[in-house]
Symmetry: C2
Subunit: 333 residues, 2 copies
């Protein structure tokens, strides 16, 4: 883990500064995941919500609202909304990917079954929908409806783009916006909207969330090849074994010669993988500086996130959000 | 099929009277199921939407709005919303039930895979969400958010209540409201709300949809035991083989003696089913008049639906909706 104390601080500082809000969000999550009739629902949800995630997305919503000195409580409802959408997505993702492990723990689909993951995910979507209705704000509803559609479309696109060597960086970006950045940008945008920020400020918060989300996902994809298993909560090389076309592979494929292309066709498109193939994939990616180039892309998106914040008045909170953009790429910096 | 021409007419009459609206709804559904990026989405959706369903739910929304001479187009958006929610639910249901056939055709999870059904279902949920946002009506959003939560909770409840002989008629009613009646009542209620009906009228439309949906589901559960395979689009006895506690079984279990109870414990709770067990289940249900009693319940709910309409001014459309309540139970009348 390349993280040092100086860059690890921003997230903890934000959580400390916004502790009251985040405690209220935690209470909301507990209350709203309950079900009088179906105890399976809180069991499955608590397994994920309590699994040591940093609640980065609700933190973004709360921070965005507080940037504009918002004094109401609707930003807490929206933060809980965003976390439930995220949790629902994780439940369905693990079914689709047939995952067995997340955050170093067995997945819900493994502990219970696929049925529970599908239906509890649906329940959390509907609960998130109820939470946002309570804010009584049509613009917020519209932003979250559009984000939901982008997320779902990105998931289907990933399904059909998987194992297809024709997947290029444009398609990758669409998939990443769907699977990660759309919820980040919606999280920051609704925070600004509910706080009554100006159009320019709302746009700045959207851009910040979008760039932060993309940087976050590229780092995630890089760590799948370069991280330590205990750090990333799953095995190194999982994406390769699952034949996923993430940014490092896409960059390497684009520069591959005929023999290397044959390797990707066999391992990714045909799924015929043998001992030593992961090492060979790493060699090809290093030969074409694919990991290094993807790392540079992540840092560029992180810089773009910081730049977006410059449209806002200087404040302690704004500086922490700027540092947070450094933090998400610190593991590969 | 016990349906005769006189009672089959109401649905056709409604479809004819509301043909302009229903054509507009059809166009909306086609437009909104499309996806620039992921062609898998319209393929899967069209397989279900085009599968000869009667579009009963969107018809209810359109009819409810037209009862009050609504002249706008938002009822069409809401009708499409309701149909997308229904389609999404079917896609996820077939994954959860591991179904192979629906409406005499192979299910989407069989033609494509479970992943596509989960993700396209999520996409349709998000599209339905976008459609309702366009009506710019918070009350409608609230009704549909609550209906979505009831649906999802009912599905989880069904999952955990399945195979449990302690399931009683109260639990059955909760499950039925979740799987069917919540969307029926939301469909009629939002139609009345968008048309600016009075609170008393909105309540009447809600009650009508609720009772109609419950009657509809009891009939469905009855036909699983008594219908012909070609009529119900699946095999007779599927619910028994899937160990589902539907109303006829619940009524029979409540009246069973010790030997009969042992039969249900073996076949439903333990899932140890042998040749001739379906016939024996039928014998036990007939001995306790369970099918006959469930039939009476369906007719009582149908009568309740008709009674709810009496709060509204007499009109041709109101009479057709009243006849529709007869129609849904005609197959078992």
């Amino acid at each position: 883990m390349g993280m040092n104390e100086n860059v690890a601080k921003p997230l903890d500082q934000l959580l400390e500064l916004l502790a009251d809000d985040m405690n209220a969000v935690g209470t909301l999550l507990s209350e709203r995941m309950s079900s009088r009739h179906a105890p399976r629902i809180p069991q499955v949800t608590a397994h994920l919500i309590g699994a040591g995630g940093k609640r980065l997305r609700p933190l973004l919503t709360v921070a965005a609202a507080r940037l504009f000195d918002y004094q109401g409580t609707h930003h807490q409802l929206l933060a809980a909304t965003v976390e439930f959408i995220h949790t629902a997505t994780l439940l369905h993702d693990d079914v689709v990917d047939e995952s067995k492990q997340r955050r170093n723990r067995p997945t819900a689909n493994l502990l219970w079954d696929n049925k529970s993951s599908v239906l509890v995910g649906d329940y959390l979507f509907s609960r998130s929908f109820q939470l946002m209705v309570e804010t009584d704000n049509m613009r917020v509803m519209s932003i979250l409806a559009n984000a939901s559609a982008t997320i779902a479309e990105g998931e289907v696109l990933q399904l059909t783009a998987a194992q297809d060597l024709a997947t290029n960086e444009d398609i990758y970006l669409q998939v990443v916006r769907g699977k990660t950045a759309a919820l980040f940008s919606a999280a920051t945008e609704v925070g600004a909207v509910i706080a009554g920020a100006s159009e320019e400020q709302i746009k700045a918060l959207f851009d910040y969330g979008d760039a932060l989300g993309i940087a976050f996902q590229i780092v995630d994809d890089l760590l799948d090849y370069t991280g330590a298993s205990e750090t990333i909560g799953k095995n190194t090389g999982d994406d390769f074994r699952e034949r996923k076309l993430t940014l490092p592979v896409i960059k390497a494929v684009a520069k591959s010669d005929e023999a290397e292309r044959a390797f990707w066709t066999r391992t990714i498109e045909k799924g015929d993988q043998r001992d030593g193939d992961l090492d060979e994939a790493m060699r090809i990616m290093n030969r074409h500086a694919a990991l290094e180039d993807a790392r540079k892309d992540a840092l560029a998106w992180s810089a773009r996130a910081r730049a977006a914040l410059e449209a806002l008045p200087q404040s302690q909170l704004r500086d922490m959000l700027s540092d947070l953009a450094d933090f998400v790429t610190a593991r590969v910096a």
